[in-house]
Symmetry: C2
Subunit: 410 residues, 2 copies
């Protein structure tokens, strides 16, 4: 048997049927029409947002990084819950505007912005987080060509990283942002060119579960923003402190306690340098806001035995859940939390089973030797933590299977 | 500097511009309208098919596993070049029929076939490679319900694997097929139930570059098919010997020499057991037929320096080329062959560069510290071996970028 990550504690059952937002999993499949199905519970997202507002300084802005989950009905709701959207492409800009987020509350990061994307963003009045001197030059040229003043922030590759992160985004040679020692000169250049300078974007890492590491990085980020602003000789409108808040996917992971982070950030902001006194501050979160709100439901098509090992074959797979299959930026595959939705809470069988997707490839493995109740054809498998980097971050067209269905509750 | 895989030897340049099917890479982008672009050269596919026919026994059938590249114009051409299509979903069945492949030359493998897929396949007259006793029972029930005689083959999980394969598909507990020691009983059961038994599907591994390993596995496969057929007491219409032919992606890889495989297979078929005397034999190939025929072209959006390291940022990325980024079934990331298409053959610069995609994630890396000629914004990067498991096997919707364009030449 191999362990799995922790099932979020609030999930419960009625007559052994997993409830998601007070609805039975099977009835949600009925409502959506078929499996595989992603269900997102808006109540959990709202609870996370409330938790954030309660724990964090009052003045702190909360941004949603829509790459985590761009499902349109979810975005439309998020637009009313958060203070801004962070986008990573022209396509995401269209989605953000479609969700009626105000352009001046949208910021666009990404190392490979094409001129057509820069042009569309400047035309719409979206803030561009400049990733390089070359991009600054192109953005200014494009703005000049269309006769608009561009809203430009500078993304900084910090000289520190967020220790223990799932993804390191700073603290070394990186394709993101400009190195800290060139950032002030770049900001000065865009100010002198007549752009509306929006401030700093400093993103040191993501998917972190260590409050002390996050506290340390936020303090370093504020200090770096102060030092850079002094060098520029101008106060930034906004300092985007990045994200980094993780969720517990794997065995042994503990939920991140954000309260000490809020307390420390409160102190750090009170003690901030004079040049940042009038600046706004934001944290951008994707996964932490929506990841735990999603459950992926997939039907058992076959239960088969090969050389004494039991395989549970489902109608979903890595084409919808690439990260859960262990093929998206992970070196060692570990099990996401997984359950039999229609036998939720039933005691596990003596022998573990391996849950595989329907794709004809050995890498389509959703649960490796996991302890589940006895499973039969027709049962419904639930994979938790499916709210972020699921449907949109997987190779949906691979092997010609239908796209997954998505359902927003609440 | 880190090494890259070998650029296929037939690629050439005119005035330093890479030629694909005698056309300059830049003019192909003009024709397609934009980057990122997959170009597939049908002449290379046809040469592979000819090479296969020349080297292999005359009677051997060649099947195309369309999962490797299901681009519709390519499928339409393949339908006239090969003897059958292998499919892995109901969606792929629709594509195969759309390409006008005859239903009785299509076979459907995959561990998670749903009843609706079984029903559509039986209705169309497509052969189903049964993956388990449970699937056999469902297929027979579905056939009964629609009043058609199903064409059923039995997929066997062999008791050996193809040594040194990129993907092992046999030789242990597997979700694919039924274990060899239960295969004959399953074939007998479907024959007794009145199904049209089509024979055996035995697939031991893929992406192999060792002729001796393939020869050994093919001999073992034929012996297994004979033993199983004797146990059934019936001759199979077809023995699908699987695939396994690899292509050289990585540093040190050598092209597979298929001539000794053909010679050995010729002998093995001549010496085959009596019960297989009237049987047909097939090899199913995907990657080997189309992989080398594809080139992915992507435009340089930015060239930037971070802490002394040069990053070349392109407008494509892992959303089209997941495998080349090292995030699809590989543990250690290695460089695919890569070049500057408009400086093809120009001597490399003194310092290596890292080619990254436009996605805002550190795993979007297409070339790690590779030796390229001096690169500028606007240059065209070519990634070779992009004909298989590219466009359709990558998370195209991730971060909201446009889908890649695809162009078939010849």
């Amino acid at each position: 048997m191999k362990p799995m990550g922790p099932i979020p504690s609030w999930f419960d059952a009625e007559d052994d049927m997993l409830l998601i937002g007070d609805c039975g999993a099977e009835s949600l499949v009925d409502e959506a029409g078929d499996t595989p199905l992603f269900v997102y519970d808006m109540a959990i997202v709202e609870a996370q947002v409330r938790h954030f507002r309660d724990a964090m300084p009052d003045t702190l802005h909360l941004h949603y990084a829509i790459k985590a989950n761009p499902f349109a009905p979810l975005l439309a709701r998020m637009a009313h819950l958060v203070d801004g959207f962070d986008i990573a492409s022209g396509g995401e800009m269209d989605m953000a505007l479609e969700a009626e987020m105000a352009p001046d509350r949208i910021s666009f990061a990404g190392p490979g912005k094409r001129n057509d994307e820069l042009s569309a963003a400047i035309f719409a009045g979206v803030t561009i987080n400049l990733e390089s001197e070359g991009e600054a030059r192109r953005a200014l040229a494009v703005a000049d060509a269309i006769g608009k003043t561009p809203r430009l922030a500078v993304r900084v590759n910090p000289d520190f990283d967020l220790k223990g992160s799932g993804m390191r985004m700073g603290g070394g040679a990186k394709p993101f942002g400009v190195d800290a020692d060139r950032a002030a000169a770049l900001a000065r250049m865009v100010i002198d060119a007549g752009a509306a300078w929006q401030g700093w974007h400093i993103f040191a890492g993501s998917q972190n579960l260590d409050p002390l590491a996050i506290i340390e990085t936020q303090a370093a980020t504020i200090a770096l923003a102060a030092r850079l602003s002094d060098d520029v000789g101008a106060s930034p409108a906004l300092v985007n402190l990045g994200g980094g808040f993780g969720i517990p996917y794997f065995p042994g992971d503990q939920r991140l306690d954000i309260r000490p982070i809020g307390t420390a950030l409160d102190t750090a902001l009170e003690q901030r340098a004079d040049i940042l006194r009038g600046s706004g501050f934001a944290i951008e979160l994707g996964r932490w806001l929506v990841g735990e709100a999603g459950v992926y439901l997939t039907r058992v098509v076959d239960v088969k035995i090969s050389q004494g090992e039991t395989f549970v074959v489902v109608d979903g797979g890595l084409h919808h859940q690439l990260a859960a299959s262990g093929n998206f930026g992970t070196v060692v595959r570990r099990n996401y939390p997984i359950a039999v939705a229609n036998r939720f809470g039933v005691a596990p069988a003596a022998e573990p089973v391996t849950v595989v997707g329907c794709l004809c490839t050995p890498i389509d493995r959703l649960g490796d030797k996991v302890a589940l109740p006895p499973v039969e054809e027709g049962d419904l498998i639930a994979i938790f933590l499916a709210g972020a980097y699921g449907a949109s971050a997987s190779p949906a067209a691979f092997l010609g299977h239908p796209s997954p269905r998505e359902l927003l509750l609440g």
